[in-house]
């Protein structure tokens, strides 16, 4: 499952800053001046959030620090250092980083082409709609689609062999490999990038490119000195978001490679299914590791986003 946050986060950033301005006296200040009757409406939401979002996660986080005998221990965290687990974190980070960078680069190019390339308006709306659909297309159908395209009997493989005599697999390509998985992940990373960077590209005021042209700048100079520096914080932030998105994804990898690619979600999946680590506390520690990484990446995104908002106001 992918996360498409597009304008959600745009809405979050602005009101958050408005809310913060009024409640400067710490978190509990938020509750001052609110009548108790109003809580009734918000209560189901908060109760649901506590019972089914916060407490389960907290339970796992706490469970990571509980040893086999029930006492508080750091042993589980230390046990994360086994070669199998470290290499699974490493390969997860690699796949997420690769798909985030490639997805961001290609997504940026396509978004720039569609929004600033003076293409017909219908192209822009089609691309944005399609991006909304494609970013939710992750998982099992995506894996089947790529096997049908680039698998050993896939359309592209067969056509290349029939028309150009080029055997992709003999040349060393394999859809079931690191780069094959990265290529597959890009299918929902690129649309996500397009969705999130589109408002930022829209925010590149026309006056700026006109001013640059007046001063004699070529398009490439405009991008190098004005456009990209302005977009840079957004790019970094979205990169972080794409990283978190890929890190938590499991269904696509599972459908594509089964359990042969030892990324962290698959290891956690096997642990939940069958306690392959023989240590429930270690499973919780694994989950804690995942939360820390995705939370960090998302926080980086939010912080950079908030600071980048300044340019676009």
């Amino acid at each position: 499952m992918s996360n498409s946050t597009d304008t959600l986060v745009a809405n979050t950033a602005a009101p958050a800053s408005a809310g913060v301005a009024s409640s400067s006296g710490g978190p509990l200040h938020a509750f001052a001046g609110v009548r108790w009757g109003d809580y009734l409406g918000v209560a189901p939401f908060l109760i649901f959030a506590i019972l089914f979002l916060i407490v389960p996660t907290a339970f796992l986080v706490v469970g990571a620090f509980i040893g086999r005998d029930g006492s508080f221990t750091f042993q589980n965290i230390i046990d994360l250092g086994t070669p199998q687990i470290v290499s699974s974190f490493w390969i997860s980070i690699r796949v997420s980083a690769a798909s985030a960078v490639v997805g961001a680069a290609i997504g940026l190019i396509v978004a720039l082409a569609v929004i600033r390339g003076r293409l017909p308006e219908v192209v822009r709306s089609t691309v944005l709609t399609f991006s909304g659909v494609a970013s939710n297309f992750a998982g099992i159908p995506l894996a089947f689609a790529f096997i049908s395209t680039l698998g050993r009997l896939g359309l592209v493989t067969v056509v290349l062999k029939a028309a150009f005599g080029f055997d992709m697999y003999r040349a060393g390509f394999n859809i079931l490999s690191f780069w094959g998985l990265t290529l597959t992940y890009c299918y929902f990373q690129i649309p996500l990038m397009i969705l999130i960077i589109a408002p930022a590209i829209d925010g590149l005021k026309k006056e700026w490119s006109e001013a640059a042209a007046t001063l004699g700048a070529t398009p490439s100079q405009f991008w190098r000195y004005v456009g990209l520096p302005v977009l840079w914080p957004n790019l970094l932030g979205t990169l972080s978001l794409l990283f978190a998105n890929a890190f938590g994804a499991i269904a696509t990898a599972y459908a594509l490679t089964g359990s042969s690619l030892n990324i962290v979600p698959i290891l956690l999946y096997a642990q939940i299914r069958g306690d392959v680590l023989n240590n429930p506390g270690l499973g919780a520690a694994l989950a804690l590791g995942m939360i820390v990484i995705t939370a960090l990446a998302n926080i980086v995104y939010l912080v950079i986003r908030a600071r980048a908002e300044r340019w676009l106001k």
Partner: protein
Amino acid sequence: MKLLKLLTASTSAAVLLTSIAPSYAAGLDDLVTAAQKEGQLTVIALPRDWCGYGAVIDGFKKKYTGITVNELNPDAGSGDEIQAIKANQGNTGPQAPDVIDVGLSFGPSAKTDKLIQPYKVSTWDSIPDSAKDADGYWYGDYYGVLSFLVNDDIVKTAPKTWADLQKPDYANAVALSGDPRVANQAIEAVYAAGLSAGGAAGADAGTKGLAYFAQLNKAGNFVPVIGKAAPLAQGTTPIVATWDYNALAWRDGFNGNPKAEVVVPSDGVVAGVYVQAISAYAPHPNAAKLWEEYLYSDEGQLAWLAGYCHPIRFNDLAKNNKVPADLLAKLPDPALYAKAVFPTLDEQSAAAAIITKQWDSVVGANVK
């Protein structure tokens, strides 16, 4: 005089029989009622294509109305099934399995770990002694031999032996049908490869099997993906080492597209027995016992035979002429089964210990 003796004998025999039969039938009826009151049976790791389990489950549901069958995790291996029992101790919900169907070597360890409960089905005596636990904790249900399912559209010449698989013709082609760290099928495949490489029965075959697969991986012939019907047809794993009943069922399912053939390697024919057991923490113990009765009745055993599995009571059924001729004709050549090696419990557990622990370090096959 003789006539009178005969009359008394037959009458007393008839009385004896009729007195036994109702009590036997009454016992089964009680079990049926109790099972229907529980209303559900939870099974695990039973793909519908495996030994025709789909037809077996449907037959059970039709015969004993009121019992729903909850099919958990058809992709699970034997190790996963044991873990499912362990993880759900005390859980009476639908995630706790009632019965398990695991490889032979998993039976005794489950008994030692107190994960299963004893039960002797009514046809207990017709199960060979070598395939059951004397106390009734686990009992063999069916067997088959390891074979290769080959996608003829992709592989030009099908391999005939384990040694053939090492040839460069089969680059990026060979796969196991399970994870050798948990699945019995994959562990036995490694064992068979070890036997073909000259290993002695037991731990030695395990070590030689790992060496065989390390070599296969280094040569680039091994695909570290679990091979099933779909990857085979899609070309990802054109050669899959799997039980003959699976290979035959999948071949049938293809309906000619792609063309596939089943080859039993001549240099290492390993037969594998699977065993049934009832979980010690089964939420529906009576339904579980009724299920076992059904499986070991003639009806259940023949249903497995229709799925290309040799039921454990095969010899008994054949002796009583209960096996339909058309079913017999669809099975592979009996001569192959004559050559088959049935690893003993000790040999299997010794080999499995080595294979499961050392697979990662010796073979190191991961998606690169």
